[in-house]
């Protein structure tokens, strides 16, 4: 494989093959650390998921699985495009490489866009613990409750808990009301949701930055030496890892609670403005 590869060798390496294998190994070692990093968060999440199953199911039901599904498709496709980019670089096809890098970037940006929309919807629904205030709809519910029983006027109102009740009311699965849950434990679920997806978003932003840099280099002819395909390969390893992390986040967070396909479609339509919903 190394027979028809051409490229400059850095000063501290003895030959091209040593350089290529070392670059690959470096990236794999780095990914090991990333696995442990996300793994720590996953372990903590799993512990609580086991202890507070029904509360975490309730929390998951409040998430936008429609956006998550489309995002999964986008991210998987972007992994395909960057892999095709490796092949293009190896085969000495600079135009193909540029196109594939660009496609990966666009798909990644689309993912982030939808994710941002998802966070915006979460904010509108008032589902940020200790930060959100009561949504208008939740305020109505609280007022009704106080009107029915004036003795409750002095009770402390937790905005997140009220907002969550409103959201879950809409998320009835097959018409069943949601099982008993402790809203404080759902706050814990949401804390995990924001942290873990937030970390993932951070990794994606860094990845997109690196991809953009590689795209610029490609435009400048950096990858005309086809031995430099190894840097595209290293990038793709990182990108696949980000993809893999998402493939774990999706079932852990989004699929913990009951969802249906029609519900997902409805949520997605609302997200991109094709439908107005109570969300």
């Amino acid at each position: 494989m190394a027979a028809n590869l051409k490229g400059p060798v850095a000063h501290h390496f003895n030959n091209l093959n040593q350089q290529l294998t070392t670059v690959r190994m470096g990236m794999w070692m780095f990914l090991v650390t990333e696995v442990l990093f996300f793994g720590g968060a996953f372990c903590a999440y799993t512990a609580y998921r086991v202890w507070f199953t029904s509360d975490f199911e309730a929390g998951s039901a409040a998430l936008n699985v429609g956006i998550a599904s489309v995002n999964t498709f986008l991210l998987l496709t972007s992994s395909l495009t960057i892999t095709l980019g490796i092949r293009a670089a190896y085969a000495g096809n600079p135009k193909g490489l540029r196109n594939y890098l660009l496609a990966t970037i666009i798909l990644g940006v689309a993912f982030l866009g939808l994710k941002g929309r998802e966070y915006q919807l979460d904010y509108q629904e008032g589902l940020i613990p200790n930060v959100s205030v009561l949504t208008p709809e939740a305020q109505k519910v609280v007022n009704e409750r106080i009107a029915k029983d004036p003795g409750k006027a002095d009770e402390k109102v937790y905005p997140f808990n009220e907002n969550l009740a409103v959201v879950l009311h809409h998320e009835k699965f097959k018409g069943e009301p949601f099982v008993a849950y402790d809203p404080f434990r759902v706050q814990l679920f949401f804390m995990f949701y924001y942290s873990m997806t937030g970390l993932h978003v951070l990794h994606m932003i860094i990845g997109l930055g690196l991809l953009t840099w590689q795209y610029i280099l490609a435009c400048r002819g950096f990858f005309d030496y086809n031995a430099r395909y190894v840097y595209i390969e290293a990038m793709s390893l990182y990108w696949h890892f980000v993809d893999m992390a998402w493939m774990f986040l999706l079932p852990l967070l989004y699929l913990a609670g009951p969802h249906s396909a029609s519900q997902a479609l409805e949520q997605f339509k609302v997200a991109i403005g094709l439908a107005s919903g109570t969300h």
């Binding site: 202890w51 509360d55 008993a180 402790d182």
Partner: protein, 350 residues
Amino acid sequence: MFASLDTSGFLPPQASEFAVQSDMLFYYITAVCILGSAVVYGLLAYCCFMFARKEGVPSKRILGSTKLEFLWTSIPLVFFLSFFVWGVRLYDIAINPPPEAHEREYFVVGKQWMWKIQHPTGQREINELHLPIDTAVKISGTSEDVIHDFGVPAFRSKFDVVPGRITSAWYKPNKEGTYHLFCDQYCGQGHSQMVGKIHVLSQENYQAWLDGSYRIREGKNPVDGSPSWEGRKLFFKLQCVNCHNKESESRAPSLEAIYKTKRAIQGGTTIMATDDYLRNSIRNPMLHIRDGWKPIMPAYTRSQVTEEELLNVISYIKSLRPGDLPSRTESTPAPVGAKTQDTQAPAGGN
């Protein structure tokens, strides 16, 4: 002030049975380690003297010896495993109170930066604990804020008190005296101020200390100001009695005589009803749902019942013998000191 404290030499006083047992393991490990270190140091000194550089004497070429490697792997391993086995057995003793200790359970709540201790007979102390000699006692505790640790070097015992759960230890003091109580988990500014005294008294002196505030328990309700008495009041105030009462067998499981029995849980498992189980059943009832019952019990948060109050409720539940569960229409228990049998109406009426 500390002149009365019983300290001597290089070891803290051995004031409990467990202290004696703990020290024995300590001596054993010390002996083995001194032996092992002596071998190493002896060899080291020998080599440094015998093989200091001498003109014209070259070094030997020795690459290793599988036999020696095996020897000094297996011998330490055997000794280390003996430490493990003995250590586990010692730990086992430390965490399993004898049956009589369950009858005498003291409660401690740690908070920044003091210890609040409650006797089974109701008396309370701050930063001090009086114990009778030659009596096995159990001590259970929790924290109101951060993690503390209730440590008594003379008993060779300590346990972390953690907010959100109950942990426990037990002692059988066997030597009169006054001993240190330390907080042994860093908890902030006053960590070193959170110290106190454990007083071990003879049986007569302990009774004398208790006199004047000693309570007698008669009838099926505690009337003596003890934790159970406080717990019974809460049992009504918090509306536990609405479901857990003598009349209703279908709304909630009976709470009589359940402590330290196996409870069948939904999902096919069984679980032992420990203090922690009782606590979780109140704080987080969805965690373990009794087989055959609907999951309708609400969770009681800290704003509704504090940790101290929760200890009292649990104490009450543990005191329930068959037939003791109150009726839904009963209300306040008799005041402290009243010698009532419960066939009479409690003072104050229904």
